[in-house]
């Protein structure tokens, strides 16, 4: 029974708890046991909050017993990316500089999860301050891909994706600045969604690049992702960039899954050279399935996507250099060199030297340079212009198509250590996911099969206009159902036992 509980979807767990077939406490224990069993090898978690999780589960059981209404995800366990604050629970962002810091407040996402009676199991590993595509930049060591423990689970939210793929949790929260939800989903055979910018509050999300960051759901099914999306989305007055629109009807869309007559655009610039053969093969098969399901597939061109990566690696470091300035050892986290002799500037400098990893330092330096007087126009200013052009490309493409699709990542999961010393190779992992962040649109990655050459999962990205997140779930659910029919199960069921 215990093993079985960890294989259930979030929707099924919630139904079973609501129906009284199983208690939230049993479900939570099953997942904590699974973590204890496999996480030494997967290393998805940086902190496990057994006590808090069991207390929440007990509260859900008491509520149910008392006949109080339960939320749609009541008692469902969840793994929280360690970039999101949770009162009293360590939040490190994968960095030494925040070691030991326990935030005195809950992020809005955590508040909403609590309100939905979700059981938060703990905090998941990530590249330091979400800078990376493999979790190898975590100060606490990499997470491992459950499909092959020698491979990366993607990044920055590799811990969240690995936790789901390893059946340590049915749901996880990720954050996506340039692909940090979608690329890990792709390489672990799971589902990940970057909502429209402003769709989910950023209050309590430790900022990497404020104009790009967006929290979103990670799950094993499209429906589960929709349930989590609905639970965390919606306006928050504490985040000025939060949308005031009603939350898109994502759950209904995920249950509809009908692409008949849907215009699906293939983005010409997100294919071909640089994409692994097996990725392209599976992608083309998925396109055929969509056609069979009644979608109208057209090719669209987004010429400025070729400049997206370059623009992104100016805007992101610029904003990050400013956002990360507060980590100075004065008020929280690590403090180095405070021997009573050194001055404040030296202590700040030593703290940052000791607390930040190489990739973080690299990006702070790039960003500081890009914002410097005399260089601002040539770098940051120019990158913002590219951003506008990319938004126009999307607008034009969405005239011809309701959703756009591409492979999520150019390759399947690479080996740990393979790209860690080559920043450009690492950055290229996000070439297909970055345009969406620059434009503020929404996108989903879902599994479409295993690459024949390495037997590793391939993800397909669906992109929709801002505020039209429901289109992702509609199209994603249709494709997921067709593939499930074909395979007789979810792709993740094929992952090797750990």
């Amino acid at each position: 029974m215990q093993q079985h509980l960890t294989r259930l979807s979030a929707a099924d767990i919630a139904a079973a708890i609501s129906d009284g077939d199983v208690s939230a406490t049993e479900v939570t224990r099953a997942h904590l046991d699974r973590i204890a069993e496999v996480d030494e090898r997967v290393h998805a978690f940086l902190h496990i909050d057994d006590e808090g999780a069991l207390a929440t589960a007990a509260a859900v059981d008491a509520k149910r017993k008392a006949g109080e209404p339960l939320g749609p995800l009541a008692g469902v366990p969840l793994a929280l990316k360690d970039v999101m604050t949770m009162r009293g629970i360590p939040t490190t962002c994968g960095s030494r500089i925040l070691e030991g810091w326990r935030p005195p407040y809950d992020s809005t996402v955590v508040e909403r999860l609590r309100a939905a009676d979700v059981v938060i199991l703990g905090k998941t590993n990530m590249d330091e301050f979400a800078m990376g595509s493999s979790t190898e930049h975590s100060a606490y060591g990499p997470s491992h891909n459950p499909w092959d423990l020698d491979r990366i689970p993607g990044g920055s939210g590799g811990g969240s994706a690995a936790a789901i793929a390893a059946f340590e949790a049915p749901l996880a929260i990720g954050t996506d600045t340039g692909g940090s939800i979608r690329q890990p989903a792709a390489v672990t055979g799971t589902v990940g969604v970057k909502p429209t910018y402003g769709g989910v509050s950023r209050f309590g999300l430790v900022a990497l690049a404020s104009s790009l960051d967006q929290a979103g759901p990670c799950a094993r099914t499209v429906e589960d992702a929709a349930l989590l999306h609905a639970a965390i989305a919606g306006h928050d007055p504490r985040d000025s960039t939060s949308l005031t629109d009603p939350v898109p009807a994502v759950v209904e869309a995920a249950r509809r899954g009908d692409v008949r007559g849907l215009r699906v655009g293939l983005v010409k610039e997100l294919s071909g050279e640089g994409y692994q053969a097996g990725v392209t093969q599976r992608f083309n098969e998925a396109v055929d399935i969509l056609t069979e399901l009644g979608a109208e597939v057209v090719e669209v061109s987004c010429p400025h996507f070729d400049y997206a990566l370059a623009a992104y690696y100016l805007i992101l470091p610029a904003e990050a250099s400013s956002n990360l300035a507060r980590f100075d050892g004065m008020r929280f986290g690590l403090r180095a060199g405070d021997n009573g002799e050194l001055g404040v500037e030296e202590v700040m400098s030593l703290t940052r030297e000791a607390g930040f990893g190489a990739e973080v330092k690299r990006r702070i330096m790039i960003g500081t340079y890009a914002l410097s007087s005399g260089y601002y126009d040539a770098y940051y200013g120019q990158a913002q212009k590219v951003r506008t052009l990319i938004q126009r490309d999307f607008a034009a493409a969405f005239e011809q198509a309701d959703v756009l699709i591409s492979p999520t990542a150019p390759t399947t999961a690479f080996r740990i250590g393979e790209k860690v010393d080559d920043p450009i190779a690492m950055y290229l992992n996000d070439v297909a996911t970055i345009p969406v962040n620059l434009a503020g649109n929404c996108a989903m990655s879902l599994p479409i099969g295993l690459a024949p050459e390495d037997g590793l999962p391939v993800g397909l990205q669906i992109m929709a206009p801002a505020r039209a997140d429901e289109r992702l779930y509609n199209a994603g659910a249709a494709l997921e159902a067709a593939l499930r029919d074909r395979w007789g199960h979810l792709l993740i069921e094929e992952a090797p036992a750990l």
Binding site: S210, V344, Y376
Partner: protein, 507 residues
């Protein structure tokens, strides 16, 4: 540290043309901070008015206080500025421990208000000089925390043993009002600077947007000053003097910097572009941070906040509901109250016009109100080195004291004691009267007893009065006043005395 050479002001002005730029920071008196809901009261326990947002904790985000935007626009309108149709906040990046995020959320090239002016009457030895001060911009930003550097001789961070930081002030909304270079002030530059800040303070007070208390830092002035040989020359290198915390200091700091820079230039030296600190006690400025390696603040638009696009209809509504311009109001009141220019000037110089207006509004007589505020109360304020607004005496207090006098319950001397009590924090006038037992003795019994006692002690007085020297009565009245600790009504004592002696008092 050796003192800088300074040459006499007149010699400096004879040789050089001063150009000033004034930057005034105004702390708004909004109930909550610029980007969070923390309270803004002055003087609270350190770090008691803070939250994740104003402490810059990881993950916290700002949300703009609409009241601060409104105040900024009203200030801009009162200074004849244009209001931006669309503007953004920007981040000013630099590391300092009193700034929680190590960037200040401010405005850079898109201020909310710009291109205004303020007409100022400058009192000079040659009479009132009318000067138009051009306003370049008024923009919004957040205040920093306050660092207290302990140990060391300078009270500054360098050389301190340790530092304490209070973040209560961090995030309080500020409006920074920047003038264009003020040229042509010549020998009146110090007075022009002072008059500008005084006029600005008066306008801000009339708008009720700030406490404008320079000594508490809710209005702070930075003085930029440079010299050139003649008005035809390009602008010289400027110094930026901070910590100028009173109107008098504004005037003195300008005067000092003119003398210091002139001495440097005449000796063949160069003015260094730097921040200088004004020392109220010694009346000099000293060098602070050098700005030669100009700090690069790496400004960029604040991505955590949406652009501000004030609805033009709302701006017009704010314009229509601005209070009367203080200068216009002055002219009107001078007519209404029938004041001479001299009387109005002394009222303004005392900085008490608004207090007199408030006193009249509360039911007081304008002449009596002026007497209190420009006389006794200004004298006490000067003695204590505080602003007359900050004595703790309100217009309502003055009205009440006047009422007590007209009812005969107080005389002038007692009234002054009541004021003392109010200032000492003993409560409102009635409370002070009660606790100090200051009511005029209106019962004739104790007065008659005191008169008898005085007559016994001064037996010759009776003879003098009977002999027609009625002025001798003053001795007895004085003795009775002394015996009653001033609580008697002198006229009543006099009447009782003559009555007792059966003498008709001469008119």
């Amino acid at each position: 540290m050796t003192a800088d050479a300074v040459i006499p002001f007149d010699d400096a002005i004879a040789a050089f043309d001063p150009v000033m730029g004034l930057e005034v920071h105004v702390e708004l008196s909004t109930a909550s901070k610029m980007f969070c809901s923390c309270p803004t009261e002055f003087g609270a326990e350190p770090n008691s008015q803070v939250c994740p947002v104003c402490l810059g904790l990881p993950g916290a985000l700002p949300a703009v206080n609409a009241a601060a935007i409104e105040a900024a626009i009203r200030i801009g309108l009162a200074l004849n500025c244009s209001v931006a149709e669309w503007c953004r906040f920007a981040r000013k990046n630099y590391f300092y421990p009193d700034m929680p995020k190590n960037f200040q959320t401010s405005q850079y090239d898109e201020p909310i208000c710009f291109d205004g002016y303020l007409d100022v009457d400058v009192p000079t030895a040659d009479g009132i000089k009318k000067v138009r001060i051009e306003i370049e911009r008024a923009h919004m930003e957040e205040d920093t925390g306050k660092a207290l550097h302990v140990g060391g001789s300078t009270g500054r961070i360098h050389g301190a043993d340790f530092s304490l930081v209070d973040y209560n002030r961090a995030g309080i909304p500020l409006i920074e009002i920047v003038t264009r270079p003020i040229e042509g002030a010549e020998q009146f530059a110090p007075e022009v600077a002072r008059a500008y800040v005084a006029a600005l303070r008066e306008i801000l007070r009339s708008l009720d947007v700030s406490d404008v208390r320079m000594e508490q830092g809710s209005l702070r002035c930075d003085v930029n000053l440079s010299l050139r040989r003649t008005p035809a020359d390009p602008l010289g290198t400027r110094s930026e003097t901070k910590n100028v915390n009173s109107l008098r200091s504004v005037e003195r700091a300008v005067r000092y910097e003119i003398g210091r820079q002139a001495a440097l230039l005449q000796a063949g030296g160069k003015v260094v572009q730097e921040t200088r600190h004004w020392h109220e006690d010694t009346g000099v400025t000293t060098s602070g941070r050098s700005k030669e390696g100009a700090e690069d603040y790496r400004y960029f638009p604040e991505p955590d906040l949406l652009p501000i696009a004030p609805d033009p209809a709302w701006v017009e509504e704010l314009r229509a509901t601005l209070p009367e311009n203080p200068a216009v109001r002055r002219a009107r009141l001078a007519t209404e109250w029938g004041l001479t220019d001299f009387e109005m000037d002394s009222l303004i110089n005392a900085g008490a016009l608004d207090l007199v207006i408030a006193t009249v509004a509360a039911g007081g007589d304008q002449a009596r109100a002026r007497k209190w505020w420009t006389g006794e109360l200004t004298r006490i304020a000067n003695d204590r080195g505080v602003d007359v607004h900050d004595l703790g005496v309100t217009p309502e207090h003055v009205v009440r004291i006047e009422t007590l006098i007209s009812e005969g319950a107080l005389n002038d001397k007692l009234a002054r004691q009541v004021i003392e009590g109010v200032i000492a924090g003993e409560g409102d006038p009635d409370a002070v009267v009660a606790s100090r037992g200051l009511a005029v003795v209106s019962d004739d019994g104790p007065l008659l007893a005191a008169i008898d006692e005085a007559l016994t002690a001064n037996p010759d007085v009776i003879e003098k009065i009977m002999g027609g020297k009625q002025q001798a009565a003053g001795v007895i009245v004085g003795a009775v006043m002394k015996a009653t600790r001033g609580q008697a009504d002198a006229a009543r004592v006099r009447a009782l005395l003559f009555d007792k002696l059966g003498v008709v008092e001469e008119a």
